[in-house]
Symmetry: C2
Subunit: 579 residues, 2 copies
């Protein structure tokens, strides 16, 4: 039994880049990418990726070299998810909402051999280059601009540009054979930064094996059939678009690209291209419902929406579903290559009362098949919590879809993998039916008089209030209890248009606290409610709690609202513009 040796035929390293070759062979007439007036078929995308990879190789890009990119959801960004690893290199997609200083910090840490940047970011690019230490050394970081594909800018013939690289690439058959053969499936395929602005940059190294298994897990978790029409509302720079960059190729889908996530753009694309799938943070539901939401419920099938980043509030969920969106909730993290929990939805749950359905849908769900283990453990004893839906612990996971580690950060890597699992830093419970529900980020938990308060639970109650549009709860200092919840609230549109008298604001705060006291244990009620015009968010629509926590730190429960509220307004505005 042991004598059998593996051979070329059955010992093939796993990599998602094979999905591109398969797509060109299996879906030769299907549209791979739609970007405004420009369409490609899968054989065309395959050809463009092969050419780009050949050009990269001719530029001496080699194994383990990093290639960075700053671009919105455009065809080039999609193609690079294949072409860069096909050249043996590692793709480093950078959050486009970061400022020059943050991007320079990432580049300094990642040390790429090339930087691709969308032409719309040209001024930013100049600023970044100025900030890089290369300026006074012999090193040089070539910048390659990506022009709008249908209207390329005139570039000087000496300047490298994206389409030029594709044109001049010469993918010979032997070179192409090499491109699709990965030496070791544990080799890195991408480098995704979770935070670049701090002194402790965390560059998550994703492997070919992890990306392959994660892609399969996504397709299964979402029950994605053949030939989906996928709308790119989720930024591809975010966790490689939750691995759907690779999954759409695997399923022979069509990628509908979008530069800007606005309500008219989304609805236009859904109608025009008959979109079947899209991913987004729950905050995008607000974009979908604001303005003139289009009722899609008459269509032959729903638009399947995979949402994550934070639990979808029940009221929002109900509304978007009425409009023809079928929402599935997932939970993931960059360190796990994408989503790792899916709120699987058995048929019979459709027969439950609507409110109960919404509560169930807000749960993060069950571990994907790419994980070998999921558990919720007491942080101190390292013991599994009882499956009672009540006892909180840290969610820990294990399996081949996890990152290889943090680049050049052995300390953070060690901490992340302590106790033989990836410690997610998220605090949750396991319900008796097996579904995991996240109560909070461990750092978002509010500890009041020794009691753990889940900020998410308080937010859920606030979201149910008819006047509340968005809410975020963080800890604020309390003289007696140590900490107490502080709520930041954006009111529904009609509400804020009304006269903004100080006592109005005060009575609003009183109302909301009173409302919370009716719906929550008293110790969980916010000591203060701060009204904002919008919440500070990152590029993916995720609310930036650290920013709010900074603000809340300067408050105490006894302060007058009128003064602090104004300060808060100014400070948060400042943060928002920076992001």
């Amino acid at each position: 039994m042991d004598n059998l040796a593996l051979c070329e035929a059955n010992n093939v390293p796993l990599t998602p880049i094979t999905f591109l070759k398969r797509a060109a062979e299996c879906y030769p007439n299907r549209t791979s990418i739609i970007n405004g007036q420009t369409n490609f078929t899968w054989p065309e995308t395959y050809d463009r990726c092969c050419r780009l990879a050949a050009s990269l190789i001719s530029l001496n890009i080699a194994k383990n070299d990093v290639v960075s990119v700053v671009a919105p959801n455009i065809p080039a960004m999609y193609e690079m998810h294949f072409a860069v690893p096909m050249a043996g290199a590692v793709l480093n997609p950078i959050n486009t909402r970061l400022d020059a200083t943050s991007i320079a910090a990432i580049l300094h840490h990642a040390n790429p051999k090339l930087l691709f940047i969308d032409r719309s970011f040209e001024p930013l690019a100049r600023e970044i280059i100025q900030l890089l230490p290369y300026a006074d050394s012999e090193l040089n970081l070539p910048v390659i601009f990506i022009d709008e594909i249908s209207f390329p800018e005139r570039v000087s013939s000496r300047e490298l540009d994206y389409e030029g690289l594709i044109q001049r690439g010469e993918p010979t058959p032997s070179l192409v054979a090499r491109m699709f053969h990965v030496q070791d499936e544990q080799d890195p395929i991408s480098l995704n930064y979770t935070s670049g602005t701090t002194a402790d940059p965390k560059g998550v190294v994703i492997t070919h094996r992890g990306a392959y298994l994660s892609t399969l897990s996504m397709i299964i978790g979402w029950v994605m059939g053949t030939c989906p029409i996928y709308l790119w509302t989720l930024p591809m720079f975010h966790c490689n678009g939750w691995t759907f960059t690779w999954a759409t190729a695997a399923r022979g889908g069509t990628n509908v690209c979008m530069r800007h996530v606005t309500s008219p753009e989304i609805y236009k694309n859904i109608e025009m291209h008959n979109v079947t799938h899209m991913c987004c943070a729950p905050t995008v539901f607000n974009i979908l419902l604001r303005g003139n939401p289009l009722d899609l419920s008459h269509r032959s099938g729903p638009v399947h929406v995979l949402t994550g980043g934070s639990p979808p509030p029940a009221a929002l969920l109900k509304k978007v579903q009425q409009f023809g969106f079928q929402v599935m909730h997932a939970y993931g993290l960059t360190e796990a290559t994408g989503p790792v929990l899916f709120c699987e939805w058995p048929d019979e749950w459709n027969r439950l009362p609507e409110n109960q359905q919404m509560e169930l849908k807000a749960r993060q769900g069950l571990g994907v098949l790419g994980l070998a283990e999921v558990d919720v453990k007491n942080n101190e004893t390292q013991e599994s919590v009882p499956r009672d839906g009540k006892t909180m612990g840290e969610i820990v996971i294990k399996g081949s879809i996890l990152m290889k580690g943090y680049l050049k950060n052995p300390k953070a890597t060690f901490e992340a993998f302590k106790h033989g699992c990836l410690n997610t830093g998220d605090v949750g419970v396991i319900h008796p039916e097996g579904y995991i529900e996240i109560k909070d980020r461990s750092k978002d938990i509010i500890i009041s008089g020794g009691e753990n308060i889940s900020s998410v639970e308080v937010e859920n109650v606030l979201y149910k209030h008819p006047k509340v549009f968005e809410a975020a709860v963080v800890a604020m200092p309390h003289s007696q209890w140590g900490e107490t919840p502080c709520a930041f609230v954006v009111l529904q549109k009609g509400e804020t248009d009304k006269e903004d008298l100080e006592d109005k604001s005060l009575s609003r705060e009183k109302d909301l606290i009173e409302y919370c006291r009716e719906n929550l244990p008293h110790f969980m009620c916010p000591g203060k409610v701060v009204f904002l015009e919008e919440l500070p968010k990152n590029g993916n629509g995720k609310i930036l709690k650290p920013k709010l926590r900074d603000v809340a730190k300067g408050l105490v429960a006894e302060d007058k609202v009128d003064v602090t509220s104004k300060i808060v307004h100014r400070r948060v505005d400042h943060f928002t513009s920076r992001l």
Copy 2:
């Protein structure tokens, strides 16, 4: 980038047995197995498998030991697909339709440490033991009987029995931890014989990695959602039930077990348990349509049927789909751990004319995601055929889901993997849309006057004749052309009941040949039509062409039908009873 070392958290060998642990955790209240009056939940199945594995370990079953089993689709057969590899051993499921000599030949070759056998096969077991060479050596093969779970036979206390092993198993936590940790994902998980009766037994060695990846590929190919109700019409001994033994656990499904595949049993189970999925060879469609087929089209959803082994004839397909079965066609082979091509069905194909739909559905389809490569190659030049839907070549595949090789048969392993791919021995074409269609087994191709004739194409024409129930075409010797097609036909029920005069038979043959000449090039028409009461089939309902070929060898195109027809009847009957 290279400095990152893998660790316990992210370096987890792939194995489908983790799906059992996950099912117990994620679907704690779901029914795992239904067998008549007996039901289990997933935690119960998990517990029983852990106990059985613990018992096997206590019997000194160790890594790479083979454990054989002869049983129909009963809970024990399902449990052993997990428990045996959990003990580190290799499961060897044996075709229950084989005779004692054939099974003894397999056992002699596989050299198992234990043989599990269903009580209904007790006389067969005695016969097998007699045939084993162990009788006069010191070696001994312990036989463990599996009794009907709800009515266990009285067994002497000294006799090992299946339920006894489960009862006495003591799975300690440290033992269980070991059970779910596979040392190397390339270790074998099962040993499946494709032919045990010849002098050249082929025991296909399947790895944990291959089984894991194949299971994921099946779920994706069939777009199988959460919590399916799966009816076991396909024997589990056949390619581990096309890996659905593991897939139902992966999806938290319910396994509805069935000892005998009869029309009343199938319909009873579908109705009683609300079955959503089943697998079968197309010949089972005949079982579904004979007698009193139940119209299921009123149900809220169809019964999804995955079919393979031979292309589903259009007429049969149409009928079963009218009755509420939604058929998907797949193609696989034991050497590839299960199905490897799925006839993916894009939505817009539902708008095509019905006949065209049936033609498309008969295609074998697109390679699964677990394969790295699928191609159709000219056997002599090893070049890919043009994708024109016409040029035939051998289907070759590559990827981690392939077998490790044939046990103790380096020559056959070498032949199978020659040229760096698995050579399937199936001859097909690639259509311009990328779908592969199999024209024949390479050994079933009929070569007439230098022209290749696909027996499947001739059969397809015969199947369209209203009086034809089943048809199989093989080569028969021809004095002038070398070979010519010989058709074996079973008529529709009403037809055979009529008076069986010799000239009737003769005129029927003439009719059918005439009909073929109207619908096929003349050189492809059968030189002879032989009418049978039934076609010889193996345990999976697959028509045994080698048997028919043996018969046809004794015929020549000029023979009188009356004589040969009778001989054929007798000879085929003999084969049928043997299988």
